[in-house]
């Protein structure tokens, strides 16, 4: 029987040498005349072990990692194709604690299947949600999504079902489903992993959204920094179209739905939904004032559902297994699972999907295993460049939209960046302002000018110039930006700044320097 060897095609694995490993493996298989084939899967999400190579055995898949091209010969010598012992052998993949303790609903197939094989997708439960959807009335699909408690995973946490209902009830000759795949937040990579590792689940989710709301056209707007994701989703769309999953008759039904990928051009602000719509229309990515809501007047002023990748990719399992199944995971008003992205200075970095409710401390210390540098954790930034810095003192905060908001933070797109005790929080606060200045779309004054002034004030504090007065000024500026900005870029940049000042005041009181009095 042909042995299946899995070598990821995920960008993180490739960035760590997966292409070289795959080439060396293919060559060795040919030279040794082995009856084996290589499957390029997505990533399992254990990025500290990438490239993680797996081999299918009678007892299940066995994992080896991190594998370098030079390890291939010794792996084959050790009988790796039948799961043989080797220093890089990690045991059965499914039994690795990092994976075993997860609840993988959205990421159930990521890393398991060949991302571009529709047969693999079907064999692992794919398309069941869409099949259910074509048998239901649109309002019933919307009700199912509403019942599930699914909230927007892009960061705003708005109930997905309510958004869909608005679009369903709005009249329009053409409606659109827009997938916000402009994942620009540092510390996040869940969208990228789904697009590269299980693109059909996104396509299925978008098709369901189309049927539910009467939209026949979909766009995935993603980043130019994600070439592997663009290639994977584009190829999957072709496969889905050829198989009748997309097109004039979705799965043989009376519903039409088709979609394409569009690429951004390096503007962070285009992750903001109205800016994204302008960009899709071919304009500068300026933020639009709301109302009108995109659900009423979105892309080309048509009724538009705009959802994050993970929100849409969570829909198929909800339709397949029912709203109650999904809703039974989680806590409070945060229902279902959340793919937490553990990043930065952390030992076990990667993607961990679990029900809402773990504490920040459990995530960083137990799952993440503490810092990669071995030094104490000083701060973790949760929710990307617009998220707050939390100190150890707040490690008992449960991962839940409301619990984080109560501590003046946000979970955003669920990315966590860990910093050790060498981090300078004044420098991090300054960077937040600098980033806002670089990426501001320029439409509103608090964001465009406030961010530049913020950098200057932070520099004065660092130089020891009237520190007390300038700290007050910085806090006041943050207040103006928070309440006066048009969108989350200017409005949330204060989160990292204020949290850094609040929780790490010692970093904002540098010893006065003599030459600072210039």
């Amino acid at each position: 029987m042909t042995v299946k060897i899995y070598i990821p095609r995920d960008a993180a694995a490739i960035a760590l040498g997966a292409e070289k490993v795959a080439a060396a493996m293919a060559e060795a298989i040919a030279v040794r005349g082995l009856d084996a084939m290589i499957v390029r899967n997505g990533s399992r999400g254990m990025h500290w072990l990438e490239p993680l190579v797996e081999v299918e055995t009678a007892e299940g898949r066995v994992a080896y990692g991190p594998v370098k091209a030079r390890d291939v010969a010794s792996l084959l010598d050790a009988g790796f194709t039948s799961g043989g012992a080797h220093p890089l052998c990690l045991g059965k993949t499914e039994e690795l604690p990092f994976l075993r303790n997860q609840t993988r609903l959205t990421f159930a197939r990521c890393g398991v299947i060949d991302p571009l094989s529709l047969d693999d997708y079907r064999a692992h439960g794919g398309l069941r949600g869409l099949k259910k959807a074509v048998s239901l009335a649109p309002a019933a699909i919307v009700a199912e999504v509403t019942e599930s408690g699914l909230r927007g995973r892009g960061g705003a946490g708005f109930p997905t079902g309510i958004k869909w209902k608005t679009v369903l009830e709005t009249q329009g000759s053409q409606k659109y489903i827009v997938c916000n795949a402009d994942e620009g937040d540092s510390g996040t990579f869940a969208d990228r992993m789904i697009m590269e590792g299980d693109p059909f689940v996104l396509i299925e989710g978008m098709a369901i959204a189309g049927i539910a709301t009467g939209a026949t056209k979909g766009y995935v707007y993603t980043r130019s920094e994600y070439p592997h994701a663009i290639a994977a989703v584009s190829a999957a769309i072709e496969v889905a179209r050829a198989a009748g999953v997309l097109g004039s008759s979705v799965l043989g039904s009376a519903h039409a739905f088709d979609m394409e990928v569009r690429t951004g051009a390096g503007a962070y602000v285009c992750g903001e939904e109205t800016s994204l719509l302008n960009s899709l229309e071919g304009k500068r990515g300026l933020v639009r004032a709301k109302p009108p809501l995109p659900a009423h007047k979105g892309l080309f002023d048509r009724p538009t559902v705009i959802n994050n990748v993970i929100s849409l990719a969570s829909v198929p399992v909800i339709l397949d297994k029912g709203a109650a199944y999904y809703r039974d995971f989680g806590m409070g008003r945060s229902r279902g699972t959340i793919p937490i992205q553990i990043a930065g200075n952390v030992k076990h970095a990667g993607l961990y999907e679990t029900a809402f409710g773990l504490t920040l401390g459990q995530i960083v210390d137990e799952i993440g295993g503490g810092t990669a540098s071995g030094r104490p954790v000083k701060a973790v930034q949760v929710g990307g460049p617009l998220g707050a810095y939390f100190p150890r003192a707040l490690f008992d905060t449960p991962f839940d939209y409301e619990a984080f908001a109560a501590k003046d933070g946000l979970i955003g797109h669920a990315g966590i960046v860990v910093f050790d005790d060498t981090a300078d929080m004044l420098k991090q606060a300054r960077f937040a302002m600098e980033f806002c200045a670089i990426e501001s779309c320029g439409k509103c004054t608090p964001c465009r000018i406030g961010s530049t002034r913020g950098v200057e004030v932070a520099d004065k504090i660092a130089a020891g110039i009237e520190p007390e007065k300038n700290r007050e000024l910085l806090a006041d500026l943050c207040n103006t930006m928070k309440f006066g900005s048009l969108c989350a870029l200017g409005g949330f940049t204060p989160y990292p700044v204020v949290s850094a000042m609040t929780h790490f005041p010692e970093d904002f009181s540098p010893a006065p320097v003599a030459e600072a009095a210039e």
Partner: protein, 159 residues
């Protein structure tokens, strides 16, 4: 690799690209990406052609080109090295690595080496935050970079 073409060819190629893509909904970004793929930058000579074909003002097209960080108004070096400057990479010594890259190349960000070999650019997140610090050389991704790997990347780019 950037190829400098005579003006007439730029106009002709631009027309062909616009003709191919203008049937799309919201065609301007796909057109600009295609033009940059073709020429390595968005030549000034392309703008009036695009504007005329899409029934936009030249100012509108110029406004879009300059809004997005990706679009270049001038050719880049033969290789483009992008270093991630965002928080996750900062937490793993990205700032120090950036200083090292600047010193090795003798240029700052947004600059090109005098021999035209390498353009150094900042990028805000490559989605490789779990294996920081990361970089992209001519579209190829590299992660968990240390000094030796950065030096190898710079050497590769300089060739």
């Amino acid at each position: 690799m950037n190829i400098l073409l005579p003006r007439a060819d730029v106009t002709e190629r631009t027309l062909a690209i616009v003709g191919e893509l203008k049937g799309l909904e919201g065609p301007l970004l796909p057109i600009l990406h295609e033009i940059q793929d073709e020429f390595g930058y968005v030549p000034q000579e392309s703008l009036p052609v695009i504007a005329r074909e899409l029934n936009l003002s030249r100012a509108e097209v110029y406004g879009v080109v300059t809004f997005y960080h990706d679009f270049r108004e001038h050719p880049a070096g033969r290789h483009v090295l992008k270093l991630c400057r965002a928080e996750a990479c900062q937490s793993m010594g990205g700032d120090r690595l950036a200083e090292r890259a600047k010193a090795l190349l003798g240029i700052d960000f947004h600059e090109t080496t005098p021999d035209g070999a390498v353009t150094l650019e900042p990028v805000y997140c490559l989605g490789l935050c779990s294996c920081s610090p990361s970089a992209m050389l001519d579209g190829e991704v590299h992660a968990r970079l240390d000094d030796a790997e950065l030096e190898a990347l710079v050497a590769e780019a300089r060739r």
